[in-house]
């Protein structure tokens, strides 16, 4: 059972297994197969921009559809098909493109159940790539999950490793609410143990990725990996870090975060998003409201700066929260004095 799989293939396997299990699962997006209408007559030339949907078209030709470059129409079509009883998985190639189709996500899919008085379900999954690191510049490197987490009615999933990627995606496909599923493009090659059989990971249950007693780090997606590196360095310095990976930021497993902070008394949040109205601020404020008395030091947020993602490698490398910056923040809260005034 120690089969290793990349994050990319874990995602791919989840879709294969769910399509086999449930005929109502369909997959649509730009070049998720690729090649339709091309002179080679090859109907699965790409299998997705980075290959996540490979093999689906060949296996399920009628349930896998390439789309024109019309995100409003095809994301909306996925929403409509979900309302009509299908379980569509729509691929929004880069989350950066949400600006041309956001309405169908937050005004339509997200609100149906509530607006219609509970008489509707919209089981659609929108898979999307996010994050910096590939020198893809300002319009292909954004994180943006805070925008989705703000919207009631959406669930927001951000796996940090191959095992979670598979289990969370299968869960997402079976869930009855609209889900935005974030895949960090710099994680696709990450390998990890992934069982062959189908399994699910429930939403709203954080994973304690590493146990520790001095400082709690809350991180999602690629930032979990960066935090693990930082934790190693810090361990060598005698600082024991606990890393909490919420896995889904909406719903958010607040209890596990509070419990961890109760134990450590210190909190660092690591978020690849921009700082303002971010996931980092979300968790920081919740703890300052609901677990305030556990805090023995100021909270600390490590985020990307409040600037677009720069192209040049020299700048992009500074943009992404690094293990070094994370470690520095942890050292910072270790050295902070407890409440001066109280």
């Amino acid at each position: 059972m120690a089969r290793k799989l990349s994050f990319l293939l874990a995602i791919n396997e989840a879709m294969h297994q769910e399509m086999a299990r449930d005929e109502s699962v369909i997959v649509l997006g730009e070049d998720i197969a690729g090649g339709a209408g091309g002179s080679a007559g090859n109907d699965e030339a790409w299998g997705g921009a980075l290959g996540a949907t490979q093999g689906l078209k060949t296996k399920y030709p009628n349930r896998v559809l390439d789309t024109p470059i019309s995100e409003s129409a095809f994301i909306g079509a996925a929403v409509g098909a979900a309302a009509a009883g299908m379980r569509p998985i729509a691929e929004l190639m880069f989350v950066d493109f949400m600006g041309v189709c956001f309405d169908q996500i937050y005004n339509q899919a997200a609100k149906f159940r509530y607006m219609f008085g509970g008489n509707a379900v919209t089981p659609v999954v929108i898979r999307t790539m996010y994050g910096a690191g590939l020198r893809a510049a300002s319009q292909h490197s954004q994180t943006l999950y805070p925008l989705f987490a703000h919207i009631p009615g959406l669930k927001v999933v951000i796996p940090s490793n191959p095992y979670d990627a598979k289990g969370l995606l299968i869960q997402a496909i079976r869930d009855n609410d609209p889900i935005v599923f974030f895949e960090h493009k710099a994680l696709y090659e990450l390998e990890g143990e992934v069982p062959e059989e189908s399994y699910t990971i429930p939403f709203g249950e954080a994973n304690i990725v590493r146990e520790g007693s001095d400082v709690t780090i809350v991180a999602v997606g690629r930032m979990v990996q960066q935090s693990l590196i930082a934790a190693e360095t810090l361990a060598a310095e005698g600082i024991s870090v606990e890393i909490v990976d919420p896995r889904t930021i909406s719903p958010l497993d607040e209890d596990t975060i509070y419990e961890s902070v109760e134990n450590t008394g210190r909190l660092v949040i690591v978020d690849e998003a921009h700082p303002r109205c971010s996931f980092a601020s979300d968790v920081g404020a919740l703890v300052a409201q609901n677990a305030f008395h556990a805090l023995t030091a100021p909270i600390r947020m490590v985020t990307a700066p409040h600037s677009p993602v720069p192209f040049s490698p020299s700048l992009e490398d500074l943009f992404v929260p690094s293990p070094e910056k994370i470690a520095a923040a942890v050292r910072g809260v270790m050295n902070a004095k407890a409440g001066a005034r109280r």
């Binding site: 369909i26 024109p68 909306g76 098909a81 169908q104 339509q108 509530y114 008085g117 509970g118």
Partner: protein, 326 residues
Amino acid sequence: MTVTAELTQEQLLRGYRTMRTIREFEERLHIEIANAQIPGFVHLYAGEEAVAAGVCASLADTDWVSSTHRGHGHAIAKGCDVKGMMAEIYGRATGLCKGKGGSMHIADFRVGMLGANGIVGGGPPLVCGVGLASKVRGDGTVGVAFLGDGASNQGTFLESLNLSAIWKLPVVFVVENNGYGEATGQAYHQSVADTAKRADGFGLPGITVDGNDFFAVAEAAAEAIARARDGHGPTLLECKTTRFFGHFEGDTQTYRDLSEVTEARASRDCLVSFRARVTRAGLIDAGVLDAMDAEIRQLIDESVVEALAAPFPDASQLTTDVYIKY
């Protein structure tokens, strides 16, 4: 005229009932709103009844329609419960959406009503989706998107024309061209006289009919819907019509010469022409229609009375029907 050939007696009666119900519903709301009894923004469909009724004449409960901010007519034509609608518009717990949606969000998936929509152009992509579901399942259901002339400039609609054409989806786009998007005339907001002309550039048929004529709409829609059901793909059907009231209740309408409305009421009222036609042709007795009118008036009366007597949703409803945890 293919009245008898194409439409059954039952379809005719249903068509009239639908149109009259919409008219009574809307005229009554117009009064109730003036009485300040109704919260929020309300957009009335009166004048355009032949479109909703004519199109839905060929649809079953298992077919779907997406609607607009001006959605009462579509909801009634698609079979939504009238009392549930009225209660919804009054914001009551007994409303179709428990009072959470209101006039702009009436929906009932059980009868294929995908929802009124507060976003202009919100519906066409959704209807591509129900068409896609039909196609994948092969169940022969059809989706219809109603939209206005103003909405026909929205990218979501234009993209949907292309998507439905390349996928040959079983859908129909019905443009209700009442000549205005809010206070802006069609002559300003687009450079073509017939919105249906847009179909050409996407590879689907585009047809323009008199939207005040139930028979013209019903016939063209029947053909488009049959075409969709038979797997031949989408159609764009433009119906030219007139709204009797303002864009929303409260609109002073200084942008149009109100003779537009008086003339439409006098000479292009779908109910009047329908009645004249079927009685003259001896298809339906005037007495039958009169009885139906009375019945409908009573239904609307009761709807208002019951809505006013119904409770508002209680506090516990604020955070149900949505994922909440905090």
